[in-house]
Symmetry: C2
Subunit: 342 residues, 2 copies
DNA sequence: TTGAAAGCGCTAACAA
DNA sequence: TTGTTAGCGCTTTCAA
């Protein structure tokens, strides 16, 4: 492996000149630059990452903790991950992936100076990783909202707003009884922030608009979906629209509704909360409130990068939810009521 | 940040002693070790990864290239990824994740000495990354089989064997006309090795056993699945069993069969080739040839780690496929023929 | 516009 | 059993 000294020697310059050609941190005359670049090319020189990290205190690597918990949809996680990786590359950074959900891994890579910054996914309301993260010298961005961010920056879809938007969207189309089929019990039990937030928004808006509403947790399986649908129909017999915030269960919920004689959207409207790709690839495309996972990942990287040089104050960024119509929500105001009561 | 010298000073020993306590590369007296360990704890000392990499030529990081190509199922990829990450941790290594499918990324992290070894997924028959990988000084393992491995080690499920096993399994249960619903055209067109291998095994065994057979590519969408099913039924009208090697399309293929009046398994048996989790979480659990993605990832890490110190010769490891019965394959020899001809 | 040289924090060969 | 010290390959200050 050629070193910077090899390059300097063959170019007939000092090592610092080579370094400055590489970093652009001081002006170099055109002829010198060309000689150096030629030498670099000829020798196939690549700076040694460790040496660079040691001298500059910059690793060009960010850590991404993407815990694969039970009952989280991997395809959504992958969207976040690719968003982070892609964005990181635009900042000349690579991504070190941590999949085990423990503070120890974060501490190891941060305290060991393996990374310049950290992005942490799947934040719970009272997340044990947050206190540790707050002590690190590297900037950190949380994807999700903990109860107490301890001075850390956060980014996420505004799930509370999404819950409200869902109800408002349905109410505006004449639905007076709506249901929310949500995350699996396990997700709720660990107080994953998005699950609680969407529920809060859903309930408060239903109350404001005087819409009848019900919520059921939903295991991510066909039988779980059937059970959830039954529970919802029992709780809100007149339900005409269902909001589904559970990517894995989504197709099962729809087929469970069909099995009970409820067609989409003639009998029951369905509004999903999921990434657009998921909504589009259902057996029947579903209207949805898009979860822009890729974008959120990219924004997380932007935020962390902005905090690398200057110390930007902490902030929380909530992306505004929007509905994308794919035809699975019926406008009841526009059609005669065809609903057959159960 | 405390350095090794800080630790040495507070423990009253030399830096090398601290280093050796950490590495265990030379015997240290008990009292000395205790003093050093105490100092480490008190100062919260963590070795600087870059300094370590520079001095030892070891980064404790491996690169994982997991390209997210169109039409590959992310949940399967995630299985590989977690297998790699989990196994890497048992060897005290972290994982640098590359998602962009180009040789440049591999070259960057390898030539820049960012990683000790590389694991590369989703290998095509004539993969442009292979020649580059063969020139790297870091050991590399491919997940998948290129036409020419150029001296690199490979690991994968024996897909050719899986194709044969599928036919044999069905033939043994009285099926004389079988179909293979395979990967999307895009996957076949880029000559992804597994797609071609399973087809080869499937065809050759069908020929040997004198079983009628047909193969159709299948887009990963409901309409793609319907088209594939129609094409298969046209090509092999008497088909009594379908092998599906397409995780995303799997549920759609099953429902397309149902829509055409073919129940599983009474009218048509279904044998999937996919990770067990996928087969289990279908609306109806499916018998399958397990794709042990997690294990393959772990084996890849083992192989690469074995080549870190000694130079092990290259090898190709093909995991033996096996059928897991979940009831979706009918034993036609054991029941009267109930098949309603189309 | 360029060069010399002092670190950055660790490992491991050599000495004792 | 432990210490001394010369690098590892780079960045950046200070000088010219």
């Amino acid at each position: 492996m050629a070193t910077i000294d090899d390059v300097a020697r063959t170019a007939g310059v000092s090592t610092s000149t080579v370094s400055y050609v590489l970093s652009g941190k001081r002006p170099i005359s055109a002829p010198t630059r060309l000689r150096v670049e030629k030498a670099i090319r000829e020798l196939g020189y690549r700076p040694h990452a460790g040496a660079r990290a040691l001298a500059s205190s910059r690793t060009q690597v960010i850590a991404l903790m993407a815990p694969l918990r039970v009952d989280v949809d991997v395809s959504v996680i992958m969207q976040f991950v690719t968003g982070v990786v892609t964005a990181a590359r635009t900042y000349e950074h690579d991504v070190l992936l941590l999949t085990q959900d423990d503070a120890a891994g974060l501490d190891r890579v941060a305290s060991g100076s393996m990374v310049d910054a950290l992005v942490v996914m799947d934040i719970e309301d009272d997340d044990p990783r947050v206190p540790l993260l707050a002590t690190l010298r590297q900037p950190t961005v949380l994807i999700g909202l903990p109860h107490e961010a301890a001075g850390l920056s956060c980014v996420d879809l505004d799930f509370e707003g999404a819950g409200r938007l869902a109800v408002r969207h349905l109410a505006a189309r004449g639905h007076r009884a709506v249901g929310l089929v949500g995350s699996p019990p396990a997700v709720l039990e660990r107080h994953t922030s998005y699950a609680e937030r969407i529920l809060r928004g859903f309930r408060s808006e239903a109350q404001s608009l005087e819409v009848q509403s019900g919520h059921v947790a939903c295991e991510s399986s066909p039988s779980g979906a059937r059970a959830a649908v039954d529970a919802l129909l029992a709780a809100v017999p007149d339900v005409t629209a269902v909001v589904v915030h559970n990517e894995v269960a989504l197709p099962f919920v729809v087929s469970a509704l069909h099995d009970r004689g409820l067609r989409t959207p003639q009998d029951v409207s369905v509004l999903a909360v999921c990434p657009p790709e998921v909504a589009e690839s259902q057996p029947v495309p579903l209207s949805s409130i898009d979860l822009p996972a890729h974008t959120i990942g990219a924004v997380a990287v932007e935020m962390v990068m902005a905090r690398l040089d200057q110390d930007h104050p902490a902030e929380t960024r909530l992306l505004t939810p929007r509905v994308v119509d794919r035809g699975s929500v019926l406008d009841r105001a526009a059609v005669p009521d065809q609903r057959i009561s159960p």
